[in-house]
Amino acid sequence: MRTDFWEGARGGAPVLVSTLPFAALFGALAVAHGLTVGEATLMSAIIFAGASQLVGLELFGHDIPAWVVILSIFAVNFRHILYSAAITPFMAHFTLPQKLASFFLLTDPQFAETVTRGESRQRVSFSWYMGFGLTIYAGWVALSFVGAYFGRAMGDPKAWGFDVLLPIYFLGIVLGFRKRDNFLGIALVSAVASVLAFHYVGSPWHVSLGALAGVLLAAALPPKPALSTAPKIAEAGE
């Protein structure tokens, strides 16, 4: 049991190192967008999904109704539905509380490692899973706090050029999906629809209308037989 936990922790260490700068950046940007240090840390502790946390920051400041913000966070995290469906067979021997706790720690790298381990016929034990997940989690929350704490000293984000970081970060994630089926069509349709909705309907509807257009296109195009979407290992909750 204990060796499994530490084996998981060792596996999570490289992921931990690569996520630390993002956690600190999130904390600093959160404070720049008006959150308190406590709120920034709470967000990392209970959402624990980087991209959606940044989407939240982007939307908090714009007088957008709460349900739209929550729906957008939900939408960005949608991929986890596919992940939990895919790893459930490897967790058949977990108790229900163990499963429910495990799913809380489900991130892109956790998914990738669990599938790799499960498919190579190594046992996916609860201890191993927790060792891997808690290592990433502890670092993510701690560095979010540190980033927020020191971010308070920075003042106006625009004076530092930080206002461009969110759109560029999102651009990078979108490009990270470029190997997926029909990526170009989906991105193009969503882009055009969101710009049109932004001009003619207004914010925040450009988010849901633009996304809906891309998703409908994906559903309408002929499905490919073997859809496998093991993501490249990315930061916690890319």
Partner: protein
């Protein structure tokens, strides 16, 4: 709730956390009912993150100032070759330079 938390933001974060946990446990709940996801549903679910994030990028580009547009245009090819941090640094330095020299 003091300087650490405001009520409105805390409720919003709790809502976001509940929504996120729902996605993490969602596939487990779905797979217990369906044997496998229908291909069109899987294709649609698969497209959701890229579609949503595109809607945050495209209007930011169209509505942004010139420095923001140039920075995003510089970041795009960098993102194709390198990881996230170099991409952010390239975009960030570009926007600082544009605003300093033209701004």
């Amino acid at each position: 709730m003091s300087d650490w938390f405001t009520l409105e933001m805390t409720l919003l974060i709790l809502g976001g956390a509940a929504a996120t946990y729902l996605t993490r446990v969602g596939g487990f709940l779905l797979i217990s009912r369906l044997q496998a996801l229908p291909p069109r549903l899987e294709a649609a679910l698969n497209a959701v993150p890229a579609a949503v994030l595109t809607t945050l990028v495209a209007p930011a580009f169209v509505a942004g100032d010139t420095a923001t547009r140039i920075a995003m245009a510089v970041a795009l090819p960098v993102a194709l070759r390198f990881s996230t941090i170099p991409m952010l640094v390239a975009g960030w330095l570009t926007v600082l330079a544009c605003r300093h020299f033209f701004g």
